[in-house]
């Protein structure tokens, strides 16, 4: 809470800069529209306007400025427009929805009305698109984390695996594999793997390596003293793993999980980009960019940001709970 005021200040500065930038960013568009609308502007023709600097234009035509802020299909929308777009497509849609309770007369298990389900599955609903992105992210994250932990255990307990796999695991972090995510999706579709799985594979790949690297570090973090102590207790290998190595690796694991889940979400969104995916936040970005709907792009971006923040926050809460119970944080 001590940091609340500074954080709010920084956020306010960012929003302020955004708001200030809206006018200049859209000015030429607005001036163009005003010229074609027959308004009195200096210089009068689009050609001359094109050769004049932006600041000069803004000084000469101060009365066009309000139009720049209110411009439809702007290059940079105003913050409140984005917020209202998000509201419209989430809560706004949901408010039209009615709760009808679990009725025996309905064979549908859902407590929501049919109209409501239609609203949720509405192509405009950001919640629908966010879920289309989140579901493969979570599935892929679970797969990647599970496999990553298994591989890390293998690396720690098997010298050959350590020598063979570890250098490649580290080197693979430097490869911009994310850039081919869309192709992987199409190839997998061609092979016959469809639905959640292709997108999940991308996110599992991206969350896999941070978990491997972090977990190897964590499993090796107990010092010689701790290991010796367990040996004096004549602890078995399994006991050493469950009672010492695994608990002491958890702080490292959670740090990796936070990186991994953020990477997994980015992976899913990028995977949705140029493949012409019809659902998901990535597809909203793409259609927005095709049709010049900047407000839609910004809304999808901020929705993605909210999802990322939510996921990282959930892991943070689980981390705090777990580590507190283990006595690793005071």
């Amino acid at each position: 809470m001590r940091n609340l005021l500074p954080i709010l200040t920084v956020v306010a500065v960012i929003l302020g800069l955004w708001y200030l930038a809206v006018g200049p960013m859209n000015f030429r568009l607005a001036l163009d529209a005003a010229t074609r609308g027959g308004a009195d502007v200096t210089p009068a023709t689009p050609d001359e306007q094109g050769q004049t600097g932006l600041i000069r234009l803004m000084l000469d035509n101060p009365d066009v400025m309000p139009a720049a802020y209110a411009f439809e299909r702007p290059r940079l929308p105003q913050p409140q427009d984005v917020v209202s777009e998000i509201y419209e497509n989430t809560i706004g849609l949901a408010r039209r929805c009615e709760w009808q309770g679990f009725g025996a007369e309905r064979d549908n298990w859902s407590p929501l009305s049919d109209g409501c389900l239609r609203v949720i599955e509405n192509r405009r609903s950001l919640i629908f698109h966010a879920w289309q992105t989140l579901a493969p992210t979570l599935l892929g994250f679970a797969i990647g984390t599970g496999l990553g932990i298994l591989l890390a255990v293998g690396i720690v307990y098997n010298r050959t695996m350590d020598l063979s796999v570890m250098p490649w695991a580290i080197a693979s972090q430097t490869i911009p594999i994310l850039a081919i995510a869309p192709m992987v999706i199409v190839v997998l579709n061609a092979v016959g793997i469809q639905g959640l799985l292709p997108k999940s594979l991308i996110s599992s790949y991206l969350s896999f390596f941070p978990v491997v690297v972090g977990m190897v570090k964590g499993l090796r973090s107990p010092g010689a003293m701790d290991l010796d102590l367990l040996r004096t207790y004549s602890a078995s290998g399994a006991q050493e793993f469950w009672k010492l190595r695994l608990p002491s690796s958890l702080p490292y694991l959670f740090a990796s999980l936070k990186i991994g889940i953020a990477a997994a979400l980015v992976g899913t969104i990028v995977a949705e980009l140029p493949t012409g995916a019809r659902f998901g936040l990535g597809s909203r970005l793409l259609t927005g960019s095709y049709y010049g709907q900047t407000v839609q792009i910004w809304a999808a971006l901020i929705m993605a940001a909210v999802c990322a923040a939510l996921l990282v926050w959930v892991i943070g809460v689980v981390e705090k709970r777990t580590l507190t119970r283990l006595g690793l944080v005071r």
Binding site: R2, N3, L5, P6, I7, L8, T9, V10, V11, I14, M25, R75, L76, N158, R159, T160, L163, S164, V165, M166, P167, W168, A171, Q173, T174, I175, P176, I177, L178, A179, I180, P182, M183, V186, V187, A190, V191, A262, L265, V266, I269, V270, L273, P274, L281, L285, L286, G288, S289, G292, T294, I297, W298, A300, L301, A304, A305, A308, A309, V312
Partner: protein
């Protein structure tokens, strides 16, 4: 007494090594046999894998200092060989997965194209954006250095933004800056800015009160203690951010090209080659991207080694 101990020690060592040796080998042999019974090609693939893995186990147990390079090299080559075998033996279509030799063929026959794409995407897009972003981020960190208030606000916000899918800003920035390399550089600037900023701000906090007091006893001014003490102490952190950002820069430059580009560039080539189902060319670009990514990372690591040789993490273990 000492002989007995040595013998016991040796015996235990041998026992444990043969144990760790036998169980996986037996399992792998079983898998190979089952594979061979199901399909001889599967058996062959498993057999090659088993042979290479056995060689690696042998090298790990007995090899000298060179095993640090030999074992991973054998592992990597084995993967390539298995890939090649799988594609050829199972007759996998070029459209789904080209063999390593096909990819190598594509690389050797289209060197000029790959070079032009490399210059467009890596040098003009990623590298220029990376340098601008890094300078901007370090500059911002130094600018807010004197204000504890701004730092306390900037760190959490920067950490938050660094975890966001910033690559999603690519369509917006392509719309603003056009299809040329400038828009790619802009995406890269936005992507690398926050990781480097957060790391630099954190690094500049790294000195402790004793060290700062020492500078004060030397009557050092703000800038003197900044350049002689605090900036060097922050370097390991700054390099951490710089290293993370190398991959981000390449990803940003390639992904931004999916949203619009001139008819050159790695992202453009990946997209169009994919459209015409020339998968070997797609993989050739990926190989170039992988080499560029590792090289870029390696260069930054090299600079780090030169500049932070004094840091414990850089000292060689003996």
């Amino acid at each position: 007494m000492s002989g007995m101990q040595a013998g016991k020690f040796l015996g235990r060592n041998l026992e444990s090594s043969s144990k760790s040796f036998l169980a996986p080998v037996a399992g792998a042999v079983a898998v190979t046999v089952v594979g061979a019974l199901l399909d001889w090609r599967l058996g062959l693939v498993f057999a090659v894998w088993l042979a290479a893995w056995g060689l690696n186990i042998l090298l790990t147990e007995t090899g000298g200092a060179a095993k640090r390079f030999v074992v991973p090299a054998i592992f990597g080559i084995t993967l390539l060989v298995l890939w090649q075998m799988a594609v050829r033996l199972f007759d996998i279509s070029q459209v789904i997965l080209p063999a390593p030799t096909d990819i190598w063929g594509a690389i050797t026959t289209s060197v000029p194209v790959l070079w032009a794409d490399f210059v467009q995407t890596v040098v003009k897009g990623a590298l220029s954006g990376y340098i601008m972003g890094a300078v901007l981020a370090i500059g911002t960190a130094i600018a807010v250095d004197r204000s504890r208030f701004l730092q306390r606000g900037l760190l959490p916000v920067g950490n938050f933004i660094a975890a966001l899918p910033i690559v999603g800003t690519a369509p917006i920035l392509v719309m603003w800056f056009g299809f040329g390399w400038q828009s790619k550089a802009a995406v890269v600037v936005v992507m690398v800015f926050f990781p480097i900023l957060v790391n630099t701000v954190a690094g500049l906090k790294e000195t402790d009160a004793m060290q700062r007091d020492l500078m004060r006893t030397y009557a050092a001014g703000y800038w003197q203690s900044f350049t002689k003490l605090r900036l060097p102490a922050a370097l390991p952190f700054i390099f951490n951010g710089l290293k993370v950002s190398t991959t981000l820069a390449l990803i940003g430059a390639i992904v931004a090209e999916f949203f619009g580009s001139p008819i050159v560039g790695m992202g453009f080539r990946i997209k169009t080659s994919f459209g015409t189902l020339e998968l070997a060319m797609v993989w050739a670009e990926i190989a170039v991207a992988a080499v560029a990514g590792s090289g870029f990372y390696g260069l930054v690591t090299l600079a780090e080694k030169r500049l932070t040789f004094w840091h414990p993490s850089q000292r060689t273990e003996r």
